[in-house]
């Protein structure tokens, strides 16, 4: 694999990207670090000679456009465009998960303030409202009563962009002060953590702490089913405990894992690298695709 031309597409080099670069270096593999802000793709010319691009952009809109362009020009990408598209929008993710029979919290999607209010009343209080696109716990709302619901919906309708006019309404799951994040690479659950917080939002970006979570057969089964439903790849599946049931709340396609390595003892960055190399081994032939665009 020493002749594999690898690029990592970034918009900011976080701790995770540095860990991945170090993991490539330990395997004596060179990686071209490509800032997506400097990338220009001419749709009538071949792309730079990369065999595989590992996408680690912060900005989902950039990631999705770049992945589409690269894939159409024969570059193997991790994750694939369709996987990112399936994970970037919670409406799409939950729709796919539910259609595949993966357990999810009861979720309703509405397209007007009146519809959203009806959806909230249907799931009951407290209800959770999430922006379809968003991360790190941003703009999540737990709505405790009708007054709060009306005020929140009025604010979203008046102040929000068009992206906030699709209302994602979910039942509130009374989780036990934690949720679970399970990491998937190459069709395997490589490790899992509990994210603990006294706040109902348990993102580590919001201060939650982490500890190792043993990967039981039940956890692995739900996690792998969720990963398969969105198309597989390198993913972090977030799960809520509802009594004995495990419900998938979201699937992350460009996962952060800096707080998960020490507590699990698993070199997650190396698992990302291993999956990236596996993907290029099994990927579509770049030369064939280049011929198709006249290169």
């Amino acid at each position: 694999m020493s002749d594999v031309r690898v690029a990592m597409l970034v918009s900011r080099v976080r701790v995770e990207e540095k860990m991945i670069l170090e993991a490539f270096a330990r395997r004596h593999l060179a990686v071209e670090l490509v800032d997506v802000r400097a990338l220009v793709v001419d749709t009538h010319r071949p792309t730079p000679a990369w065999d595989v691009v590992l996408e680690r952009c912060l900005q989902q809109s950039h990631a999705m456009a770049a992945l589409r362009l690269l894939e159409d020009r024969g570059v193997v990408t991790v994750n694939a465009h369709r996987v990112v598209a399936n994970c970037a929008d919670k409406v799409v993710t939950t729709s796919l998960l539910a259609a595949a029979g993966v357990p999810v919290p009861r979720t309703l999607v509405a397209f007007s303030v009146e519809g959203a209010l009806e959806a909230i009343e249907s799931v009951g209080y407290p209800a959770v409202i999430k922006p379809p696109v968003g991360s790190w716990g941003r703009l999540l709302a737990r709505v405790n009563d009708r007054d709060a619901a009306e005020a929140l919906l009025d604010h979203k309708a008046t102040l929000g962009s068009v992206a906030h006019q699709v209302f994602y309404v979910q039942e509130h799951v009374a989780k036990p002060g934690r949720d679970i994040r399970a990491f998937v690479a190459g069709g395997e659950v490589v490790c899992a953590i509990d994210r603990l917080s006294e706040h109902w939002i348990t993102n580590t970006a919001r201060g939650a702490t982490t500890r190792n979570r043993p990967v039981t057969a039940a956890l692995a089964e739900v996690t792998l089913a969720a990963a398969a439903a969105v198309g597989g790849g390198v993913l972090a599946v977030d799960l809520l405990e509802d009594g004995e049931r495990l419900l998938v709340s979201e699937v992350n396609h460009t996962m952060e894992f800096r707080n998960s390595v020490d507590v699990t003892g698993v070199d997650i960055a190396d698992r990302v690298v291993a999956h990236t190399l596996d993907a290029v081994r099994g990927g579509a032939g770049r030369r064939d695709a280049l011929r198709a665009v006249g290169a």
Partner: protein, 55 residues
Amino acid sequence: MTATCPECEAEVPLDAQTVIGEVVPCPDCGADLEVTALQPAVLVVAPPEEEDWGE
């Protein structure tokens, strides 16, 4: 290696493993600074978080 904070002009220390694209905090003013060049190191104020940023 050090570089100047464009916000407060403090000297910001950078370790040898610093790479372009990394974001470092200014120890004086706390601004998030993006490394845009090395040798010599150049820092700019990092772009603020946008709505579609995330995992």
